[in-house]
């Protein structure tokens, strides 16, 4: 065999081997949602992500996972990437902003994955959380839930002890909430907001925090039997300006202006610029505030945190017991190549199964959408009562409007502006009328 022929055979062999190797690795999944920010590298969460991806690649030879960082302004970036055909194959999507993607047909109906991967059983998810990813029962499923949180009320045990008030219990009412907040609001002389000697100009401990953001108050309207827009998203007339909604907004405003149990936005702004809100809460300057599960992370890592320094209770009820559930889920792009689809579905299955969700529970940022993992987290949690309080709210949780209406960001912005004007002294009915007109104009487009 001549030297030239040998060389030719060698080249053919190398090319064939290389081609074989490439073929074995020919499915690469581009995934967003499994890379921590730079400052969190080396943390248990970082290790959990890496172990999960390593384990998945090991269990699925021929599939490699390219974990991408979550870019800033992800929603905007994602839309651009989807339009340009450069979007990731799988990403963790906030359900509050998924509707625009659904309307544009950008996300895969996950029933396809259920058909492809037998282990992917939908019973693993909380039904109410799964329904956030559906427009109609038994209809398409746009993403499989990763985690979620209902909005609850956090309370400072320090503030309650200082005021000599017992912590609230789930199922409490609006009247009980106001009475509790009054007892918790103390002036420099130790008088509470129920006392005739109370000095609102010298408050040292506030009962509650009210802010303009609609995501923190929309469920107050629901609790009073009202709403902000029609169920079909066509109008705000008869909803935001209904007597029930006006009453709920007035009730919220009165916490600041009439009962004086919450600081005005200006006072609040000044207070938290001096010392962060969570610091103030943990030292008892604020007794209660609305928030989701994610706040546990900030509270437990705060320098002022000690075990038992705060608790969590469900939302107070009036006409109804209600809260909003913010959720995120794993989404696959609708135009994923056929050769990648199976691997992508297997990845989502692995990311939502008990094994990985148990590992991820260590972050504490949200409740696992996997029911078994969520139940296990209650048992292994540093404070099982807090986890139980969150889980108890699940049955009262409603899907965020952003998961249904693509133009929700515009409507929400109008609601924020309306509440800002009301908290600054604007008349409720007049400001609501302005907001209704603005929202209707937007909805009419």
């Amino acid at each position: 065999m001549s030297a030239r022929l040998r060389l030719l055979l060698l080249i053919i062999a190398i090319v064939a081997i290389s081609f074989g190797v490439v073929r074995a690795q020919d499915v690469e999944l581009n995934v967003v949602g499994f890379v921590v920010p730079l400052e969190e590298q080396g943390t248990p969460l970082d290790e959990a992500y890496q172990a999960f991806i390593g384990g998945f690649e090991e269990a699925h030879p021929g599939v490699s996972v390219n974990a991408l960082e979550t870019p800033p302004e992800f929603d905007t970036q994602l839309l651009v990437d989807l339009a340009a055909g450069t979007a990731p194959d799988i990403w963790n999507q906030d359900a509050s902003t998924i509707s625009r993607l659904v309307d544009n047909g950008y996300v895969l109906d996950m029933r396809e994955c259920v058909a492809l991967v037998p282990e992917l059983n939908l019973d693993r998810f909380f039904p109410s959380v799964l329904s956030i990813h559906q427009r109609e029962a038994d209809g398409p499923i746009y993403g499989l839930p990763n985690d979620f949180t209902p909005m609850v009320i956090y309370y400072s045990t320090t503030a309650f002890e200082r005021a000599g008030v017992e912590p609230p219990q789930a199922g409490w009412t609006w009247e009980e909430f106001v009475e509790t907040a009054k007892l918790l609001t103390l002036d420099a002389n130790g008088n509470n907001a129920s006392s005739p000697d109370f000095d609102p100009a010298n408050v040292v401990q506030w009962g509650f925090r009210v802010r303009k953001w609609a995501f923190e108050w929309i469920y107050r309207v629901w609790q009073n039997g009202g709403d902000v827009i029609a169920p079909d998203g066509s109008t705000a007339s008869g909803y935001l300006d209904s007597p029930e909604s006006i009453e709920a907004i007035t009730w919220l405003r009165d916490l600041v202006t009439v009962h004086q149990v919450a600081p005005t936005p200006t006072t609040l702004d000044q207070m938290i610029q001096q010392l962060g809100f969570l610091d103030r809460f943990l030292q008892g300057d604020f007794a209660m505030f609305d928030r989701g599960h994610w706040e546990l992370v900030g509270l437990r890592s705060n320098a002022n945190f000690t075990e038992g320094s705060f608790g969590v209770v469900g939302q107070p009820q009036n006409a109804a017991r209600s809260t909003v559930m913010y959720a995120s889920g794993f989404v696959i792009r609708a135009d994923i190549p056929e050769e990648k689809k199976l691997a992508a579905c297997q990845f989502v299955e692995a990311a939502t199964n008990l094994e990985y969700q148990n590992t991820k529970a260590l972050t504490g940022i949200a409740i696992s959408a996997n029911q078994e993992a969520a139940a296990a987290a209650v048992e292994t949690s540093a404070d099982p009562a807090i986890e139980a309080a969150f889980n108890a709210e699940v049955e009262f949780g409603r899907a965020p409007y952003g998961s249904v209406y693509a133009n929700w960001p515009t409507i929400e912005e109008r609601l924020d502006a309306m509440m800002e004007r009301i908290l600054a002294g604007g008349e409720v009915e007049a400001e609501v009328a302005v907001a209704v007109e603005e929202i209707n104009r937007e909805l009419s487009r």
Partner: protein, 313 residues
């Protein structure tokens, strides 16, 4: 058109290119400006034309194929959009404060910096430093300085026995605060332009005025200021255009608040486009903003021409 004319065309074209390439200086000149020209065409003219066509479409979806033609609908909607006009009004308020104040203060500084003083070059550099600093970086620094509780500005006010101000948190003071920061940031640029104008005034005119018995104030009022008219025209026009386009300090310092008091036109357009994904409508808003700036510029040009004619006759 005759066959002879048609045949002459390629000939004329070839002749043009031959003449063009034979002028080596021109050729080199064009080659030098080519990168900038490409940059301007790709990143300015094409988006500009695109945004004009976009303003007649309802583009709320990522693919342009999903942007139906809606005629003047965006412009009609805009006419009754009180929030947009409030934002325009905020931009107008900002411009009215920032341009005259900025010009006046920088003129004062330029007059001082035009004197033969020790260390004048150092101070000129010092005044110019904010111009070359990043808007985001200086905004963050000002955010700290203007903090109502721990900021140095309120600390000084407190030391002087003056009341504390919630600079960026109060709707009455938020816009003036942004104006002050903008004036500080642009002071060096305006100063350099004023300096160029001041140094172009012939000394003989001051000497003649001195012979006529003019004092310093009269010299400034009767000689300096009239001869700075072209400079002030340039600064006023560029100042108005720039002020109507203010964005970064609003984005970093106030996000349009409190109570929408600093929600300027460009920030409003940004929100509409990139937070609410309503690109067609945002494009229409941009063109209305362009029209307003264009009209403001025309008014300035006409005013200056008339003044010039009045002086000449």
């Amino acid at each position: 058109m005759t066959n002879a004319t048609l045949a002459a065309r390629p000939q004329a074209l070839r002749s043009f290119w031959r003449r063009f390439w034979s002028r080596s200086n021109e050729k080199i000149g064009y080659l030098f400006i080519l990168p900038s020209l490409i940059h301007i065409i790709v990143f300015l003219f094409i988006p500009l034309i695109f945004s004009f066509f976009l303003s007649f479409r309802d583009w709320t979806k990522p693919n342009f194929s999903d942007a139906p033609y809606v005629g003047l609908e965006n412009y009609e909607f805009l006419m009754e959009d009180s929030r947009f006009w409030q934002a325009m009004s905020n931009s107008g308020y900002y411009t009215l404060l920032a341009v005259p104040l900025g010009m006046a203060i920088s003129l004062g500084v330029a007059v001082v910096m035009n004197q033969k003083l020790r260390g004048v070059y150092f101070f000129r550099t010092l005044f110019f430093m904010p111009v070359v600093s990043s808007w985001v970086a200086v905004s963050i620094i000002w955010l700290t300085l203007l903090d109502p509780n721990v900021g140095i500005v309120n600390y000084i006010l407190g030391g002087l026995g003056l009341p504390q101000i919630n600079w960026l948190g109060d709707p009455r003071s938020a816009m003036p605060s942004i104006v002050l920061i903008t004036i500080w940031k642009g002071l060096g640029f305006n100063m350099v332009i004023w300096l160029a104008g001041l140094q172009a005034i012939p000394q003989e005119l001051y000497e003649a005025a001195a012979i006529d018995g003019a004092n310093r104030w009269q010299k400034f009022w009767r000689v300096t200021l009239p001869l700075l008219a072209p400079t002030s025209f340039f600064l006023a026009v560029t100042g108005v255009i720039g002020s109507f386009q203010v964005f970064t300090p609003v984005y970093v310092l106030t996000k349009g608040g409190p109570l929408e008091s600093t929600n300027t036109a460009v920030y409003h357009i940004y929100r509409r486009a990139f937070q609410e994904f309503d690109f067609g409508y945002a494009a229409a808003q941009s063109w209305i903003l362009f029209a307003v700036i264009f009209i403001a510029t025309i008014i300035q040009v006409v005013y200056v021409r008339r003044r010039r004619e009045e002086i000449q006759f």
